[in-house]
């Protein structure tokens, strides 16, 4: 079973709530879900959709073909017609004027029943759910159980009215709907999936940061990064996290650097444009060795680009942003589960090496929802790195030269110590200097951190067999679609594997060299036009990818699209 639903309409019509309810019902029924959000940069109107994929096997990407469309506007009735499966169904509210009816079209009284039975037009989501489930011949008993669980906390009356509305549309559709659907789920029982935590990449990052003892976050709103900041703000009071919306991104990162200097774990969230403003201060974080975690939810650029859409084109910009040379770490989680882990690691790495650590997400990663296993925080370890011995020390030197380049940290307020930091070249005591010898030693201090940084980073993960003829080279959020494409090709008899990177920079090369040396065709698959990660690999190893698959229309990849690209390029 692998069904895709597309709920389309205008911004503000509540397409998300229908999508959420649908995925919750299937999660309750024991299935894997994967939801993407496609929306325009506007508050009301336009055409937006939520697309929910449901399967009895783990899924990590959307697909192109849709089984059931729910249309809340006239545009939504026609917009996805070409993506509809042969036996697909388009359910739309019968108040929408639409005459070119085909067998796949099903006008349903969603709004009317929501008002009549539920007493509120907002019950349209339950109405749509009833119609969808009936079209699939999904046993209503399972839906009723799910609705009980979903709305149970809101009280019996809410459960009852939702069930009543869904049932009314379910029964009506069973009676009226004459089309066909490629799935008939009347014998369906509970699915195999026990994962009940529905999470976006954004929320997983927020949870990870909070578990990592984040104490300061400052941000300026910018799509698609804002949801991380909003989530943390919503828990700031309960967990005692300092959170401030600032006048601009420069202030955000400077405040976070100030917070870091006092000893608080700090973070900023932004997208490419905001990161552009932050760049000078990234250098300050490096020079003052005041660690900060920077999250960039990438969107298509340059400039304002496509504000609500997805791309992976800030990789090289972030790797080389700022004047001067210094170590930094860049991580790109592939999905929500990995995002939680990446957030907790990012703060430890930042503290351990006293450097800026960057997390690269993108709109697709940030807004997509999937159900994952319950996250257990008991495994989260906090490593603050090297700290100075407590007690007075008039000779304390913030930038003491050590073999590994890392100086023990003390913080202002520590009795008997003076903590002096500077963005200028400084002596061991933090006071500025132009001395050539000290300058050389301080640059070496930065670079001496690199071996241990490399050791702390994770090597890439190989999916499939080592020694396969073709290797898909991927990073970050494109993992899911590429992984599914690899499976499709493998099933078709192609010798193929996937080498995937979460830890991007500095690049660990041992496993990379080992795997790539055995592959005859290396194909980089990236959501950008210049194959930026493949360029990074080439820079670090001299290994050149043979083929490049690039998507830069702002929409996420699907496995089918990748497979088609590979076939069209004649790669065998």
């Amino acid at each position: 079973m692998d069904i895709t639903f597309n709920i389309g309409g205008e911004a503000g019509q509540g397409i998300d709530t229908i999508g959420d309810l649908l995925s919750q019902v299937f999660v309750q029924a024991g299935f894997y879900t994967f939801t993407i959000k496609d929306f325009e940069s506007r508050i009301r109107g336009g055409y937006n959709f939520t697309q929910v994929r449901v399967s009895d096997r783990p899924i990590h990407a959307p697909v192109d073909c849709i089984d059931v469309i729910v249309a809340l506007s006239r545009e939504a009735v026609t917009e996805q017609r070409n993506n509809l499966e042969e036996e697909g169904v388009i359910i739309f509210d019968d108040t929408i004027e639409f005459d070119n009816l085909e067998a796949c079209h099903y006008p349903a009284p969603l709004e009317r029943i929501a008002k009549e039975v539920g007493g509120n037009v907002r019950m349209m989501n339950a109405a749509a759910l009833g119609a969808i489930l009936s079209v699939l011949r999904f046993p209503f008993k399972l839906a009723e159980e799910a609705l009980n669980a979903i709305f149970g906390r809101k009280g019996e009356a809410v459960v009852a009215s939702n069930v009543a509305v869904a049932k009314a549309l379910y029964d009506l559709t069973t009676e009226k709907f004459t089309g066909t659907c490629r799935y008939s789920l009347d014998t369906l029982e509970h699915g195999p999936c026990k994962d009940r935590l529905l999470l976006t990449g954004s929320r997983a990052l927020a949870l990870g940061a909070m578990a990592a003892n984040l104490k300061w976050i400052s941000a300026y709103p910018m799509s698609p990064s804002t949801s991380v900041f909003m989530d943390i703000v919503s828990y700031a009071h309960d967990l005692n996290i300092g959170a401030l919306q600032t006048e601009d991104e420069i202030a955000s990162i400077c405040m976070a650097i100030g917070a870091s200097y006092t000893g608080a774990r700090s973070m900023v969230t932004t997208s490419g444009g905001g990161f552009s403003l932050m760049v000078e201060a990234v250098g300050l974080s490096a020079m003052a060795e005041a660690p900060v975690v920077i999250y960039n939810a990438q969107r298509p650029g340059p400039s304002t680009g496509l504000p609500t859409r997805t791309e992976q084109a800030d990789l090289l910009f972030m790797a080389f942003a700022s004047q001067g040379e210094f170590p930094r770490i860049m991580l790109a989680p592939k999905d929500p589960l990995e995002a939680f882990d990446v957030a907790t690691r990012a703060f430890n790495l930042a503290d351990k090496f006293q450097i800026p650590v960057m997390i690269l997400g993108d709109q697709y990663f940030a807004d997509s929802v999937m159900n994952i296993q319950r996250i257990d925080v008991s495994g989260v370890k906090i490593d603050r790195g090297k700290l100075a011995a407590s007690g007075p020390d008039p000779d304390y030197k913030r930038y003491l030269l050590t073999k590994d380049g890392i100086s023990p940290r003390a913080f202002p307020g520590d009795e008997g110590k003076s903590v002096v930091s500077s963005g200028n070249v400084h002596r061991e005591d933090g006071h500025i200097t132009e001395n050539a010898d000290i300058r050389t030693k301080m640059v070496a201090k930065f670079m001496n951190k690199l071996p241990a940084i490399m050791e702390s980073l994770n090597p890439p993960i190989l999916y499939g067999n080592e020694g396969a003829e073709i290797t898909l080279l991927t990073w970050g959020s494109t993992w899911g679609a590429a992984n599914e494409a690899m499976q499709i090709l493998k099933d078709a008899g192609v010798s193929i594997n996937q080498l995937h990177f979460c830890d991007l920079y500095p690049l660990r090369t041992e496993k990379l060299r080992k795997v790539l040396s055995k592959s005859r065709q290396i194909i980089s698959v990236e959501q950008n036009v210049t194959s930026q990660f493949a360029q990074l690999v080439k820079m670090a190893t001299g290994i050149t990818a043979h083929h490049h698959i690039n998507k830069y229309d702002g929409r996420p990849m699907t496995a089918r699209w990748i497979v088609d690209e590979i076939r069209e390029a004649g790669i065998k």
């Binding site: 300061w216 000893g263 307020g413």
Partner: protein, 289 residues
């Protein structure tokens, strides 16, 4: 008790002979002694320029010499994550009123508890004498358009601060030590955003705003009767086109500061607070269907 020996500068001063910054440094040291706050609880955040170097000329306390225009946001982060610290910003007119003006206005609006000392000499000294945002109209420099000189009016930090919402706004003069120390102590002890605009001659570049000019053209607000709680009369004094420049406290009121609106823990500084992992687990478990 803090001693003068403790505050002795770790580095040789690089300011020009006769520079107005010497008076500011001397007053700062006297103010720190008078404040009698343990030096480990004092932090200076400075920007870039001649003013930005002051942390290297005073010993014992904590300091962060930051970026051009950015000492206020850095200081805000320091203060909010450890409100036991007293944070003093040293910034110049180029630093604060050029690249940093946006931060200055917003920090005032937030009434964040910082003392901001503006070393105001009307000129970009360290980059060799370009007109600063505080340079008078017509000021001739190597980057102002010839022949008229700077074709714009100067930024007035006192006016800006009062209008933006600062709750302690004063002006001092590097040549009037007694008053300057008093104003510095007042600014640090004030809870809220305290701005002290400090007039200081740049003896190398600025031929207009000299020691002689300031000595002849300043007068004390307090000696001439002024209600510091009246915003409109504070503004009137700040905007006065009178040839004489007022020195002293323009405006001083009590208002809620930013920290009182942030989720700070009651018992420890924010930076020492540890999130209970059980609370995070509960948040996650509440999200599980």
């Amino acid at each position: 008790m803090t001693t003068a020996e403790q505050l002795e500068g770790p580095q040789k001063v690089t300011w020009c002979t006769g520079c107005g910054n010497y008076g500011i440094l001397a007053a700062l040291k006297k103010a720190v002694i008078e404040l009698d706050i343990p030096v480990h609880n004092l932090v200076i955040s400075s920007g870039i320029g001649c003013s930005g170097k002051i942390p290297h000329y005073i010993g014992g306390l904590n300091s962060f010499h930051t970026l051009h225009g950015r000492p206020i946001p850095v200081a805000s982060g320091i203060h909010l994550t450890n409100s036991e610290l007293r944070v003093i910003v040293h910034t110049g007119d180029g630093d604060c009123l050029g690249e940093g003006l946006g931060h200055f206005v917003h920090a005032a609006r937030r009434n964040v508890n910082l003392a901001v000392f503006i070393h105001n000499n009307g000129v970009m000294g360290l980059t060799k004498g370009q007109f600063s945002p505080a340079a008078p109209r017509g000021y001739v420099s190597n980057t102002s358009p010839p022949p008229p000189g700077a074709p714009m009016d100067p930024a007035n930090p006192v006016t800006q601060a009062i209008v933006a919402g600062a709750t302690y706004v004063a002006r001092g003069f590097s040549g009037d030590q007694k008053a300057l120390v008093e104003l510095m102590v007042g600014a640090v002890n004030h809870r809220g955003f305290a701005v002290l605009d400090i007039l200081q001659p740049c003896v190398t570049w600025n031929r207009q705003l000299t020691w002689k000019f300031y000595n002849e053209n300043t007068y004390s607000l307090q000696d001439n009767g002024h209600d510091v709680t009246n915003k409109l009369s504070a503004l009137e004094k700040a905007l006065s086109s009178d040839s004489k420049i007022p020195i002293g406290v323009f405006y001083k009121v009590d208002a809620p500061d930013l920290a009182s609106g942030i989720a700070l823990p009651k018992d420890v500084p924010l930076k020492d607070h540890i999130t209970n992992l059980k609370d995070v687990q509960k948040i996650i478990d509440d999200l599980v269907l």
